[in-house]
Each structure stands twice: as C-alpha cells, then as structure tokens.
Symmetry: C2
Subunit: 276 residues, 2 copies
C-alpha cells in the first residue's frame, strides 16, 4: 500500500487506529480453546468486530512464534484473512528484525514475499545494511524503531553524542538518508508525550507508528496535539486495551466498542486539525 492510499483510508474511515493483534493463547476466552485453531478464531472475531474503525492491524510476531509451527500457521491465516476480507487495511508485522545485509534480505523475503504484509518493524542497531534490504520492495514499508514506549528506551535511545544529539535523533536522520516518506516510518511511543514536538522537528513528514496508548499509559490527545502533521502522519496502536477488554463470550463485541470509542476520539482530533 502506498502513502496516498493510506492517507485516503485514514480520511475515509476518520480513524488512524491500528489494532495490535498480540494474541496470547493464555489470555483468550476459555470457550475458544475447544476450537481447532483458537488463536485464529479469536483474531477473526476481533478483526470482524473492529475493522470498521481500524486502518491497520499489527500482529506481534512474538505471540505467534512462541507457539512454534502452529503459531506460524495462525499468523499466516490471520494475515490472509485480513487481506481477503479487508484489503484496504494496512498490515504491519511487528517483529523488530534486523541483521547483516545477507540475513536482512532473508527476513525481507519472509515478511514481504512469504507473508506479504505491508510493513515490518525493524531495529536500527546494526545500521545501514541491516535496514536497506527491506526498503527495496515497492509498496512495502520499514517501520524503524526510533523512540520506543518502554522504560528501557531511556537506556540508550536518549544517550547524547558529543554534539548533544540523542541517539534516536541520529537514527532517524541517518535512516532518512536510506529511505524516504514513502517507504519509511518510525516507531515513537505514546508514553513520550511532549517529545513528539522534538520528533516532528526531526521528521516532519514521516508517518509514525505510536504504541503505548492504553495499557502502557500514553495519551491519545497528547500524541495528536504534538505528533499529527498535515497528512495525519500517525498510526496509533492499541493492543491489550481492545483485544482483552472483555474475556467473556462478548469479547469481540466489547473489542469493537472499544475500537469505536477510539475512532470517535480520533475523528474529533482529525477534525480539530482540519484533516477531514
């Protein structure tokens, strides 16, 4: 999916919501465990309930990989289900890959040819040749870790070099020498609040994938206030706050309602910024 298509979808749906499919078999409702493929059944129900309010899905690959082969089957089925039934929805494999060029090429083949998702999260520590193999695919996106939502983001990402530039800024500036606003986004955690002003100074035109709203404590209004640009430029993710909002038989309906609440808030924020 290209940038203009993504922006059009945001405007049409009046939403910049990404639903994180962090599906943990230990947390899904009991009654689904009798199904042949409980994780896929759970995802299908969540997707059908939330799709009207959502522009992106983000399966977190760890949650599938941890079940080995059956997990990969569930991941493939989930991606195919979204592509078949909701072809306008952007799919992000949240996998935080990155290795020497030769190996990153294999990961790119895995996610962009095999699984055929729209975007992959990538870790920057190994530098240029670990990132560029993912940028060679037309219509696909790298979402590079910039300033993450977790406590450990303070350990290295904010380390300042001799010019006073924090590492995350160096990462973003360098990465924009390798890619551009049509194939490269950045992860910036919602917990970083006012730091979005700083981030927008560095990457004014980039899309940002923003985790950390909800369970991790970030504020949607604050993210929009400081992080939105003229194209919206945001995909705000919520995982646990939506998919585990109820653990009863009504889990899908409640997830849909939570997604709709966020969509309504996003619609208002998009109107405030005159994007719709």
């Amino acid at each position: 999916m290209n940038r203009q298509e993504l922006i059009n979808n945001i405007k049409n749906k009046k939403s910049f919501l990404c639903v994180g499919l962090d599906t943990d078999i230990k947390k899904i409702p009991q009654h689904l465990l009798a199904a042949d493929e409980p994780v896929f059944e759970f995802n299908k129900a969540i997707i059908d309930a939330t799709a009207p309010f959502t522009v992106a899905y983000k399966p977190n690959v760890a949650f599938y990989e941890c079940s080995g082969v059956s997990g990969w089957v569930a991941l493939e089925k989930t991606v195919n289900y979204i592509k078949s039934n909701y072809p306008d929805i952007f799919i992000i494999a949240d996998a935080k890959r990155g290795d020497i060029g030769n190996t990153s090429k294999m990961y790119a083949r895995c996610f962009f040819e095999g699984l055929d998702v729209d975007a992959l999260t990538v870790a920057p520590y190994m530098g240029e040749d670990s990132v560029t193999p993912f940028l060679d695919y037309q219509g696909k996106w790298v979402i590079l870790l910039g300033l993450t939502s977790n406590k450990g983001s303070h350990d290295f990402q904010l380390t300042k070099d001799s010019d006073g530039t924090p590492l995350f800024e160096t990462v973003m500036r360098k990465a924009l020498e390798w890619g551009n606003n049509d194939n490269l986004m950045f992860v910036v955690g919602a917990t970083q609040g006012r730091m979005f002003e700083e981030v927008r100074r560095i990457v004014p035109g980039s899309f940002l994938l923003v985790p950390g709203v909800g369970a991790q404590g970030g504020s949607l209004a604050e993210v929009a206030e400081y992080g939105m640009n003229d194209d919206c430029g945001l995909l705000v993710n919520s995982s646990r706050g939506i998919i585990y909002a109820s653990q009863g038989d009504d889990f899908a309906m409640v997830a849909g309602r939570k997604a709709e609440e966020l969509q309504k808030e996003m619609e208002m924020l998009l109107r405030n910024k005159k994007i719709i």
Copy 2:
C-alpha cells in the same frame, strides 16, 4: 548449559568453533531437493560431518522463517537432532530479538521453552526491560549485540557520547548490570580486529560470539591474539565458509574438512595461550 560445561567442552574438543547453519534452500546441492525435507537433510549431513570439530551450532533463524511453516519445522527438527545426537554441543538461535518486556517474555518462551536452545542473540536498542526477560532462565544465555561485523556497525555502534564513550561500550557496561558472565555473552565481529583489545578492557570475563571469520573477511589469528581470555572466552562462528564450501555431492565431507582445518588452527591458538 552452564559456563563451566562450555569451557570443558572447548578444552575437550580443542576447539571454539561455532558452525553457522544459515541454510538457504537456494544454495543447497541440487540432489537434496528431491528429499521430503531438503533443509533438514542438508543440516543433518553438515552436523554429522562437523560435530567432532565443533562446540556450538548457530542456526540463523531468518533462513528458516523465510520458508514460513516448513521452515519452522526444519528449525525444530535441526535443534532436536543436535540435542539428541550431540548433547554436549551448545545451540545458539541467531534471531536478534528484543522488544518491550511483555513481548520479550514471549520470545524467551519461544526460544528457551519451545525450541529449548541454549542461547539467543538479542538486540539492545530498547534497553533493560527488552533484555532482562531472557536472563531469567537458568542455564540459558543472552548473546547481546555489541560491536557487529557488518559495515553498518559504524553507523551507530561507534557513535561517541559526550564523555567520548562509544555506544557499544555503553551497551556492554549497562548490560553487565543486568546479567553476568554466567548468563550473558556479547556479539563482537571478527572484522573489528584490534578493537578486541578495547572490548576486553570493557568485558574481560565475558564470552564473545564472533561472526565474520571467512566470508566476511575477519582473521581468526587476530581474534585469538586480542580477544582470548584465560577461559578462552570465544566462540568463533563460520557459516558460509563451511556449509557451502562445496555444492556437489561431497558437500558434507568438504564441510567436515573445513571445520577440521579451523579446529586445528584453534587447537594451536589454545596451546599458544596455554589454555590446553
């Protein structure tokens, strides 16, 4: 496997060789493609031929993941084959994982409970809570990216902070506040040559996993000269230089011979340092 067992294996086998199982279905000998499970058949033959000279195997997870479900089957079978037939050999899943704590826990479950390997390579960018979930497993190891072997290692890892400390040093020092020499190793690329002196000043007692000998151009003698400590403290990896040394019917025999050549050189280096 604990540290002392690993050291004993190195002394018994007179080797600190790790064979990288970067098995690319596009590169294995033609005649294997007729087998039901060509990747596993290739690995079995390579393992049987190289095991006498090897203290560790390192399947590179990208090469399996890129085949989706069938790749995960091949990876699981390969790990189980090593564990059943060569229980003294240390198994490293080279996956370079790392995410927020909640997600790193899932990756730890995947690799240390599901696949049950001895060690996992981990990327440090997201800091403490992305690394510590992997350190909670008795007898298992984190191998954290320090100073890697690729060209892109210069992009961020050598960035100096306001005190003149390069990022890789900050990463190593911080990580040794979270783990210790019994559950934490570091990746330091063989291509870094004289930098091993500097690395040993920072982490004198840590085991180092050293990729980049062979195809990537690093020198084994130089690594041993500057990187070996009193316990050896090195696992030197060779992948392409061994497993693709011949692409004919004799691939396993030639791989075994290449592994033996490296083992002989390692034996001499261990004797020079009076470790055996």
